[in-house]
Point group: C2
Chain length 306, copies 2
Amino acid sequence: MEETKDAVSLVVVGSLALDTIATPAATREDVLGGSVSYACASASFFTRTGMVGIAGADFPDAGLEQFRKFGIDLQGLHQVPGKTFRWSGVYEQNMNNRRTLCTELNVFADFSPDLPEAYRRSPFLFLANIAPALQLRVLGQIHKPRFVAADTMDLWIKTARDSLMQLIAKVDLLLINDAEARHLTGKEHLVQAARQVLEWGPRYVIVKKGEHGSMLFSKSGAILVPAYPVEDVQDPTGAGDSFAGGFMGCLANAGKITEAAVRRAMAVGTVVASFAVEAFGLDRLATVTRADIDARDAEFLKMIRI
Amino acid sequence: MEETKDAVSLVVVGSLALDTIATPAATREDVLGGSVSYACASASFFTRTGMVGIAGADFPDAGLEQFRKFGIDLQGLHQVPGKTFRWSGVYEQNMNNRRTLCTELNVFADFSPDLPEAYRRSPFLFLANIAPALQLRVLGQIHKPRFVAADTMDLWIKTARDSLMQLIAKVDLLLINDAEARHLTGKEHLVQAARQVLEWGPRYVIVKKGEHGSMLFSKSGAILVPAYPVEDVQDPTGAGDSFAGGFMGCLANAGKITEAAVRRAMAVGTVVASFAVEAFGLDRLATVTRADIDARDAEFLKMIRI
């Protein structure tokens, strides 16, 4: 699809989906979703972001229009015959637990991303949740990236462990949620799980704990960030992807990987995720402004300052 | 029992217990415990602390000796004929969930605390977990305290709601864990639950989330503190009481209630609790030094600084 005028500083590959989401309050069908949507939308507040993904013929124009409004570069987004990937899930009362009802791969079954030339020198790369083989394929097409992060999910830990382990050895940062960290490493305690991941190669691992915040581990120590206390969570879908997108967008904007930049990115990711869950899909991110983000960021920093 | 030479600046009333604790790793019998033990031991690192509680004739001298080593003032501790209060519980694999196997009130059934004269002008008072009627009784015996905090538990929310509500209206700070906050207020979301508690009177409410840290709410905002990531939790019993004891000890040492003092106390409570869970009962607090606490405090501040 079309390109924007500036070079991208962050490329994100991941799933593009139409989700059917049931929460205790409401059910919505064909909500714009998938890891790449949340991550790109979140990153777009901070840096020029290129989306790599695949949409079916049924993907709504309004969705593309939405991406453009975020300022996302869509050169890497391919629309092909067939149906868009679909996911449906239901959340329990407390919104922490969800059950997947149905997953239809559709056009994703044959997805084999080829990066546009303009993306191949992007300094920052985020391999959002998608099959590790595809993440590896995209990683192989980027020329000497400065910083590469990857996310994953339980499905790949179960069904594609070998390629996932290959990927983990090659990235600078692995993002993973608490249950997945335990599953992946076989270690119950998150500090031990994180240490195990660091031994496999990444300089950093971020363990995402949903409403309980996130923890970054590196050889030099840990950074602990609580979640922003959202009062009225409407839809937790994509919170982790939004965190990651905000984190990577902020880091790409900083341009270099210093400890201060990483700490900043943890807070910014937290704040962006807190907006994302306030409405279904991208609805809240679509109305929020950079000034809103900065204001909540300042409020959040006050909350966590000792 | 005997008094120490200096006036106490913090009085703590609560349960004194001999616990039988089963974790996935080990089972221990007659472990020195109860809310007043953990809270006084934790506070004793920071301020002169007086213990108000009741022990049976079977209470071991070694336990009293332990309290003395902490420097706890024992004028308010009464030893009477009969058996000491006993609790036994078992922790699940992840240490977050526990089941109470048995509670024997014993000498607690007729406990009716009368404060020593020397305690009645203590500026700080912590009403640790015990029946709300007893907390109210102690509160009524203190002359114009500067700051009063109370903790509670599910049992009292269920069985003594009226006196608990009376108590809540009279304290400056309510400490409560996440499940109890939901139970007490009927509100699923912790921010809403906390706001409800503030409407009942307290200036502050601290929601304790175990391994996920704690959140303080006041009319002017929130303070969010993650837990220190303890790598090898041996026994989570008393973590909340240790947090509260460290918090109140730190605040009593500061002597006044400023926002900065409250923030400091949140971090110190977190650090003291992180030591408490590293061994059964008071075993770790008994070997830790103020220098150890200060060192981990500095490490923790680095972890949470953005």
